[in-house]
Amino acid sequence: MTTTLKAAGAALLLAGASLFNPAAAQEGPSDMQIAHIAYTAGNLDIRYAHLALAKSDNPKVREFAELMIRDHTSVNDQAVALLTKLGANPEDNATSQQLVMNAKAKRDELSALSGAAFDRAYAQNELAYHQFVNKTVETAFIPAADNKEFKALLKSALSVFKVHENHAAGMVKSLK
């Protein structure tokens, strides 16, 4: 696992951890910050998928990338629809910004690879990325979310992302 991924995961978990700490509650992310982080994480995975479609000829990798684009786009669209209905705006925050920076570094790293080396690195990144995001959504964001509809959407999204995690694990195994 790369340092970049560890940093991304640490940023997410740190954001979530502060939600559990009453003393840090005021500094912890709000629903709108969680929404921004989750939306950003989804968009970043879509960007990884576009990179995979541009670089990989492996049918399994391409199929997975297309799935990521389809599913994350759908989840993000529904998040936007819910926030629009609630009249709320996602709020940019340091965790989202850190995720974007880390993802840029990871994309640069992946872009320098090709062929089977790219496929393996992409698959490993997808597995690690979903593991971190899922852990954070499940243990930090869902318990912390206030709005009922937003919490329900996070739960539905988590079930989607867990399927992705399992799929990514299978892809990693098959590419070894």
Partner: protein, 147 residues
Amino acid sequence: MQQAMTTTRRTGSFRTEGRFGALRPASLRLSALFGLFALASCGAAEHDAQAASAAAPETGTVHVIDIVDFRFEPEELTVAAGDRITWRNRDVVPHTATARDKSWDSGNLNRDEEWSIVAPAAGVLDYICAYHPSMKGRITISDAGPN
């Protein structure tokens, strides 16, 4: 099993209905070889669908399969020939209901979209979600009616 069936798709306020039959390989080959007869071949497929419909007239009984949390609910269903089966996507991502043998396919179903077939003659329909193949379902069709 006769795969010809009637399908219905509903997207929001839009609803389209149509009949199709799985083209037999021979029909496909003929269409490829004699493009001018393509329309005639489609006509034959339409005829097949109508024939199946005649063999299994719609009973008016409707069975609903909800797609929720990456599952077909119920995963297994027993119906009678002529019953209508409707898939409704209640999930946050697109899914499909696609025959394992690819003889029928709902195509992309976004959230809250639905798609129906009228069960053809007795047999078993095994299907998956083409996007998430770990999602599996089975429909058992009896001539006499559900068990």
